[in-house]
Symmetry: C2
Subunit: 302 residues, 2 copies
């Protein structure tokens, strides 16, 4: 879209915080970009950026402009998507931000099922902690975010919600593996490998642990679920994961999941989030619809 470049350029300057950096990203010279910004500011009769020694930052007017521009760019994306739908191409990109726990099993299944119907739809997955995920949603970087136990502000709408319990994961030969459910206090008797503090499951654990005055023997702490699983397998530690990311019995390894006793757990939700007021591409809207449905269904089956 030729007439959208100006908007994209300004948004990029805002993102980069520097005209030169933005120009590099956009593959134009900084002088060209600089003049585009200046022309726009002159036309509007008001500066959009404050010039600082190490770059630029948005003025109030600039923030308003960027917000409008982002919205319009998103609308145009959606328009193009509808055009393609009209032409029967059924293409599209769905961009998702989610926490690690979901990526491996739940989302992979959902995406595969969706692509069965619409093979030309591509997916972009961004795996992060929930704060970054919601920020990406706010910045129009992703179409939807799937977050666990997050504080969701206004501006973001929760399309579906799914209560999630925490599961303890351990090796099949771990003493606690004999039980159907475990209590958190029991886990304290063994070495544990905890998710780090950016992750929702850890925040949940900390909450419970401090209430029950539990002290874990923390063998390790990591932001990576692969790492934690590795520690479980090779170090015989206990780790924790939300149930949707922890199938009761993993066929590919000797790791098992054991539900934690209900009495120990506060309520925590897995939330499917969209940006309020934003219309999505056909592909993204369809996928969200199915995902929401899958979450409802999964909720019914305990």
């Amino acid at each position: 879209m030729r007439h959208l470049t100006l908007l994209q350029h300004v948004v990029e300057v805002a993102r980069s915080g520097s005209i030169r950096k933005a120009a590099e990203r956009l593959n134009i010279t900084s002088s060209a970009l600089n003049r585009r910004v200046q022309d726009l500011e002159e036309e509007l009769g008001t500066p959009l950026f404050e010039r600082r020694a190490r770059g630029v930052s948005l003025t109030t007017a600039g923030e308003m402009f960027v917000s409008t521009a982002q919205h319009h760019l998103s609308e145009m994306d959606r328009f193009r998507s509808q055009i393609e739908e009209l032409r029967g191409l059924r293409r599209g990109v769905v961009r998702i931000a989610c926490s690690q726990a979901l990526a491996q099993d739940f989302l992979a299944t959902q995406i595969a099922a969706f692509q069965n119907d619409r093979p030309k739809v591509a997916f972009e997955l961004k795996v992060t902690d929930h704060e970054t995920a919601l920020a990406a949603l706010r910045d129009y970087e992703v179409d939807l975010a799937l977050v666990f136990h997050a504080v969701i502000g206004t501006g973001i709408a929760v399309t579906a919600r799914m209560p999630q319990r925490l599961a303890a994961i351990m090796r099949a030969d771990h003493p606690l593996a004999a039980q159907r459910t475990v209590r958190l206090a029991e886990c304290a008797s063994y070495p544990v490998a905890l998710p780090d503090r950016t992750l929702g499951s850890r925040q949940l654990i900390d909450q419970v642990a401090s209430r029950q005055e539990l002290r874990f023997q923390v063998a390790a702490e990591s932001g990576s679920f692969e790492m934690l699983r590795g520690l479980v397998m090779r170090g015989n530690a206990i780790s924790f994961q939300i149930e949707i990311g922890a199938p009761p019995r993993d066929v590919h390894s000797d790791v098992v999941a054991r539900q934690i006793d209900d009495r120990d757990l506060p309520q925590a939700d897995l939330s499917l989030c969209q940006l309020r007021g934003r219309s999505l591409s056909v592909a993204a809207a369809l996928f969200i619809e199915r995902l929401a449905q899958a979450m409802q269904v999964a909720r019914k089956v305990p």
Copy 2:
């Protein structure tokens, strides 16, 4: 806005139904406009207009584009308005479509009061029948519409509503002027000057008349309230107007208004309408707010 011209151009072509006509309105040559359209179509990979012998008409994709474009143009208008507000200029334009009944008294008062606070805000008034008024609202030609007894479809939101009775207006020396209220049947004994069928008040009268099987002595029929008032004054006819457009005693003439008996009247509303999903300029939003308030207050006082 330099980068908005393309959108404006396409919208204008859609409005005009012809590239040449649109080009004339836009003060450019038809070849230039033609090529802009073609370039855009090529870029989108889909035609926006169907070429017909006597001009062009929108394709489905074209309709979608125009709708998005209009929305974005309106957003940018709003953005500029907010900029000016930020700079303390407090300027702006409020564009209104309303029926004649309201223009003379009610709206004039409201506008004058508003301009007392914000003298730099200009008003554009479009006086028409209610269908045209709602169409203008839908086409982003006006910011708000004030219509009486209209069928309001989805896509248009009613911000405030005010039940309105009909009043009979007549010369002070008319026999019926002696009464505080009149019945519609009584009016049938005298010559009447009726609003024409485009006007909401006429539709209301027709409704009642047909139910009560009344036959009026129709002395005249007109779409102009000035004309009707003239006939009342000079021909001693009775005419009708909604109460908000008919002050009980007009100091500038010998015309008086007498309320019609409640038993004769079906419910009819004066509605303040906005386009759903559209954000308005600061001035327009403020004016609407006050107008809505005024309508609530007016409703309280019977």
